[in-house]
């Protein structure tokens, strides 16, 4: 009986893989957008956290020059040093977020120990950019004071230590949500459609009238969905690794592959279960898209879950994909296997539950 089950599973697995391989267009449109997304992130990396700013120095003294130098060295802006008229034009044309002006008499006022200002005119239409400016200008001013060493009136300094030896660029970090989205879409939606289509085109009769157990049918379809998702996921990983964007070390490669596999399995299991339950392509599409959206975003989406409000984090704890995200980020960025057992267990049990649901759906009634 076990041999029969395994044999049937294998046959359906291979059949579904063959069908999938005959749809190169689907393969391409599933994998190309995530790679494009990563490229886009990489192309925009230079601009992340460094807003374009015009710097106008109307002062002629040494302190004015020093603060201009500090602003340059702080490297917090993409700077254009221009005159006032040009700066206004740049601001008006939205070429810069802000104009930073060192007013005339800056040095004199400082020498006279009078208070003076750095004038900042901000296009505050967007809080994200505005806050960047609001943080970056004081950062530059602090650099100015730091450069004075013992003479600096600012006595508070920062002793920074980082968790990782090097910063993870935004585009590197985005490998994680990109991968998860790819696996979700590929597994859930294509698995769901591939299963729903069997009923809609009545080819399921071939399966149901065979001696293959219902569980074997589902297992074979899930394995096919898993194989394709996992394959695509590995391709993305290899591409980004080849470009030097991720650098998991040693055994964490295995962790990474394990989690990619489990997330693929979860997506495929859910997709097949939905397909077996609904049995028509259009409802499968509708349900699986919404499920994919909810799973992806409620597990953190493109952001960092720790930044979300507590109530959202609580909801995320019930979403299996959250554990996939956690384990992947541990392997990709932390070189850690912290809570790996928990993450594997949740993903594995969720996949199993989906498998059981799919099997029950197949047994629910005969085809048609």
């Amino acid at each position: 009986m076990i041999l029969n089950f395994l044999r049937a599973t294998w046959l359906i697995w291979i059949k579904d893989l063959r069908v999938w391989l005959r749809q190169p267009l689907t393969m391409v449109v599933t994998i190309v957008p995530p790679l494009i997304f990563l490229m886009v992130q990489a192309l925009g990396a230079e601009a992340v956290g460094r807003s374009p700013v015009a710097l106008v120095n109307q002062d002629s003294g040494p302190q004015g020059a020093q603060i201009v130098q500090a602003i340059r060295e702080a490297n917090v802006f993409r700077l254009q040093e221009v005159d006032a008229a040009k700066a206004q034009a740049l601001l008006k044309n939205l070429d810069v977020v802000a104009v930073v002006t060192i007013p005339a008499g800056f040095s004199q006022r400082l020498q006279a120990r009078l208070g003076t200002t750095v004038d900042v005119t901000v296009n505050n239409l967007n809080l994200d950019f505005t806050n960047d400016i609001r943080r970056a200008v004081p950062d530059a001013i602090t650099h100015y004071y730091l450069a004075q060493g013992d003479q600096s009136p600012v006595k508070i300094s920062v002793n920074e230590s980082d968790l990782r030896a090097r910063d993870i660029e935004m585009f590197q970090y985005s490998v994680l949500p990109t991968l998860v989205l790819l696996l979700t879409v590929s597994g859930l939606i294509s698995g769901g459609i591939a299963t729903g289509r069997e009923w809609e085109s009545a080819t399921v009769k071939e399966l149901l009238l065979s001696p293959a157990p219902g569980g074997a049918i589902i297992a074979g379809k899930v394995l096919a969905g898993f194989t394709t998702s996992f394959g695509l996921g590995v391709v993305v990983l290899l591409v980004v690794y080849g470009m030097g964007w991720i650098y998991p070390e040693g055994i964490y490669w295995l962790n990474m592959l394990l989690i990619v596999g489990l997330v693929s399995l979860l997506g495929a299991s859910l997709g097949v279960a939905i397909g077996a339950a609904l049995r028509r392509i259009m409802p499968v599409i509708a349900v699986s898209i919404n499920v994919a959206l909810y799973l992806f975003f409620l597990s953190g989406g493109v952001g960092v879950l720790a930044f979300e409000p507590q109530w959202l984090q609580d909801i995320a704890s019930f979403v299996p994909l959250t554990y996939g995200n956690h384990a992947l980020s541990m392997a990709l960025f932390y070189n850690s296997a912290d809570l790996l057992g928990r993450d594997v267990l949740v993903l594995g049990l969720s996949s199993l539950a989906a498998l059981v649901l799919g099997t029950l759906a197949v047994r629910r009634r005969s085809a048609g």
Partner: protein
Amino acid sequence: MMREIAYQLRVIWATARKDVRSALTDRLFTLLGLFVPANVLILMSLFVLAGSNAPTTMVMNDTGPYAQAFYQAMSQAHSFRLETATAEEAERRLAAGQAVAVVTIPPDFDSSLQQGRPVQVGVEINNLNTDFTNDIRRAIPLSITSFYAKVFPNLVSVTVNETDLYAHDTDYIPYLAVSILVIALMMGGMMQAGTTSAREWEQNTIKELLLSPASRTAIMLGKMLGAFLVGLGSTVIVLAVLILLVGVAPEYWLEVIGFTFLALLIFNTLGTLLGTLVRQRMPVIALTMGISLPLFFLSGAFGPISFSTPLLQAVAKIFPVYYQIVVLQHAFHGFSLNTLGLAGNTLVLAGFALALITLMALVLRRSTIGH
């Protein structure tokens, strides 16, 4: 001539009616499809709910007035979501990913400052990505200068004098939600139109259309009209969510209505084109979902594209999503995000619509059945 026009109009209406009827027979698909844009809006807004406030744990080894003032300065730096904890708890939270930074106020903070001695504040950062990391790195100096401006105004004589172009800040979510609206409309419109179009090919009913004496342009316009009518429902829902739930009130109502309809038209055409080209539903869906995220990041969702790199600026301008975001930001917030002006952006979008319709007509005209 009049008879001919009447006939073609009849074909357009009949095709649209047929598609709407088909959509209504598939209630689950239609119902769920109605909520896809709204779901995208809600879910993506959740992602930006916390804005850029980094969850940070403060270890207050000194609780004197200067330390408290520094804590206050940090909490007002628009960058932190602060909690206090012991050193061990702080490390645990950092390791577990529940906090992204630990700021440690040393025990001699107050006394050092009173005596004019240097003092170091420890900042341990989970440098997970540079965007968040740099926000923290800069927010600390902001906190320092704010602290000094309040506590030692005579010592630190260089301060920032800020002038804003707009009377008030637009919060993170109201701004971003409008950008997300465009993506939501794109996903919903392309999905609906694309799958309807692809299904004709998958199920071979396209033969009925291709063998009729009706012009293919009329058939195409009929399909677009049908998708538009079905898409109206989801558009109303997503606008209701944005205005009533997220709380983003439009500044120019007519612009909101007009540009939303234009968005629907463009994305429906794009979906119909995609469905006709690929002729299968699965790639249509995979592509629609797959390109949404890149286009969201590419098209100036977070702010004017002119603030980005020159290359990204050039790429963004190829896609209608960018212009849609510009016009809808104007409609909701009154912002001008590029120098084309409202009329210029509208013209560009109309150009996109016309180009897509023309391309669609060409593709359909050349469509044949291979054997």
